[in-house]
């Protein structure tokens, strides 16, 4: 998967957990929590949905890697590709 595809995966999850938010102008390099109402429980939702939908585990120490859409792409793309290569 490309980083853009992974970012779209994250966006799809955010669309579900923050259904009242307009995500069309989300800036990829700005912290998600600074652009929308996203509390710590919502953040755990992202982690949970990555686990449920895609089998991706994000250890607590790495939560900071999910701060922006760009950092999500950077951090998660190797994880998605590792899953794909395991096949």
């Amino acid at each position: 998967m490309t980083k853009d595809e992974v970012k779209q995966v994250v966006l799809d999850i955010i669309a579900d957990i923050a259904p009242d938010e307009d995500l069309s102008n989300l800036k990829p390099d700005v912290r998600l929590r600074d652009q929308m109402q996203l509390d710590s429980m919502d953040f755990l939702d992202i982690v949970m949905e990555l686990r449920k939908r895609h089998g991706i585990e994000v250890p607590e120490a790495d939560y900071i890697q999910l701060a922006t859409l760009d950092s999500c792409g950077e951090y998660l793309t190797p994880k998605f590709n590792a899953l794909t290569s395991k096949g």
Binding site: I17, P19, D20
Partner: protein
């Protein structure tokens, strides 16, 4: 001790046959029940009273995703009650507003949902939702209302099985009289149709109603009654001390006249007519009334074979034959058993009788069980009476909790 007079100034509700008091009352007078058949997990299609209020009227989509059905019903009812009372939610004395919500149970729905969800992942608990605890704490429905309103006064639930709706009003009355709050949002809510466990429990107890026509299934006092129709719903009231209500020129539906809560201390599930009669009698006495002064008795009867007979026995022992002005009805025949909301909803359905002098009937009585025959039973058609000054509302629950609440016509 002189007690403050407590009055009802607003009503918000959702019932299977109405999302406002006007719609609900209209259907009770028109004989319109609204029970449907709905899919219950693991059990198939079963009868249920389902509410169709618009949850997005007062909640965001995210609140609905995170919260519970009971919380959502509570928010709808609370906002509707405030609007009905002419109170702006944004201008409440936030720390002086109390929220007291009766519940039969809470947390079954959410726990069952989570177990079902992790069953799709081999029961691996790492897929268990982090929302489980805030959804299942017993204060959840009241807490969700306080979050939605930004109200910072006491907000909690009162667990009292199916007596809980009355208990919400009774506790609010006490808190207003203690001066703990100046405004109370109170009553009861239920989300129980979303838990298979409640259905399966009643089924195992042979207490679940069945009928070809869903709207004919809930039939208290009828010989062919065969159990309970479970419903969701809610009714919350604004209660205020009389002087507060008068100062702001509030509309007043009625005044809390008296109440009693007691316990059978005799069985987990079987009612005890002796204790029920004591509860009713004590409430009447505390209201400064005599049995013949009660104009409407709204029964708890759930359409179980024994429960109805026992409540009738209790009523018979208090009211006997000497109460010619007492009418008796039952609201569950229309909406099923709304569990924690039952007492509060059933009172609401009768409150307009102070104005229109019409007693809504008990429907679905084709063949009255002689053991349930009481003078004054209003069967199948509404009855216009000379006057309605008092309404006595019975709500009883498992583990032997009994509650009677009496509301009287307001006179200054």
């Amino acid at each position: 001790m002189s007690l403050s007079r407590i009055v009802i100034t607003g009503v918000g509700l959702t019932a299977p046959n109405g999302n406002s008091l006007a719609e609900f009352r209209g259907n009770l007078l028109a004989g319109v029940a609204r029970i449907s058949r709905t899919e219950i997990r693991y059990m198939g299609p079963l009868l249920a009273g389902v509410c169709n209020y618009d949850p997005l009227r007062y909640q965001k989509k995210k609140e609905l995703r995170v919260g519970t059905r009971a919380g959502s019903i509570g928010i709808y009812c609370a906002r509707e009650a405030l609007a009905d009372a002419g109170l702006n939610p944004d201008q409440l004395a936030r720390d002086r507003t109390g929220i007291f919500v009766g519940i039969t149970e809470h947390g079954n729905v959410e726990t069952e949902n989570e177990i079902y969800a992790i069953s799709k992942f081999g029961y691996d608990t790492k897929f268990w939702s982090h929302y489980h605890n805030p959804r299942t704490v017993a204060n959840n429905p009241a807490g969700e209302i306080s979050l939605n309103l930004g109200s910072t006064g006491p907000a909690y639930t009162i667990g009292a099985a199916c007596a809980a709706g009355n208990l919400g009003l009774i506790h609010a009355t006490q808190m207003l009289r203690l001066g703990e709050v100046d405004l109370a949002l109170c009553g009861g809510v239920s989300e129980s149709i979303h838990t298979f466990g409640i259905y399966a429990g009643f089924k195992s107890q042979n207490a679940l109603a069945h009928h070809e026509d869903p709207n004919r299934a809930s039939r208290p006092f009828d010989k062919a009654r065969n159990g309970i129709v479970i419903s969701e719903g809610g009714a919350l009231y604004t209660l205020e001390r009389l002087e507060t209500a008068m100062q702001r020129g509030a509309k007043i539906y009625g005044e809390i006249a008296g109440y009693c809560v007691n316990s059978d201390a005799s069985d987990y599930v079987l009612p005890n007519p002796g204790r029920q009669a004591e509860c009713v009698r004590t409430a009447v006495t505390r209201a400064g009334l005599q049995a013949r002064d009660i104009h409407i008795i709204n029964t708890h009867a759930t359409a179980t074979p024994m429960g109805d007979i026992q409540e009738c026995e209790a009523i018979r022992s208090v009211f006997g034959e000497g109460c010619p002005d007492t009418s008796i009805n039952n609201t569950k025949s229309f909406i099923g058993h709304a569990m924690g909301a039952a007492g509060a909803l059933e009172l609401a359905g009768n409150l307009p009788s102070f104005l229109d002098r019409i007693v809504h009937p008990t429907i679905n009585v084709d063949d009255l069980d002689p053991l349930c025959s009481l003078p004054g039973l209003v069967l199948n058609r509404p009855k216009t009476v000379e006057r309605v000054d008092t309404i006595l509302n019975n709500s009883f629950g498992m583990l032997g909790i009994n509650s009677t609440l009496i509301v009287k016509r307001f006179t200054s």
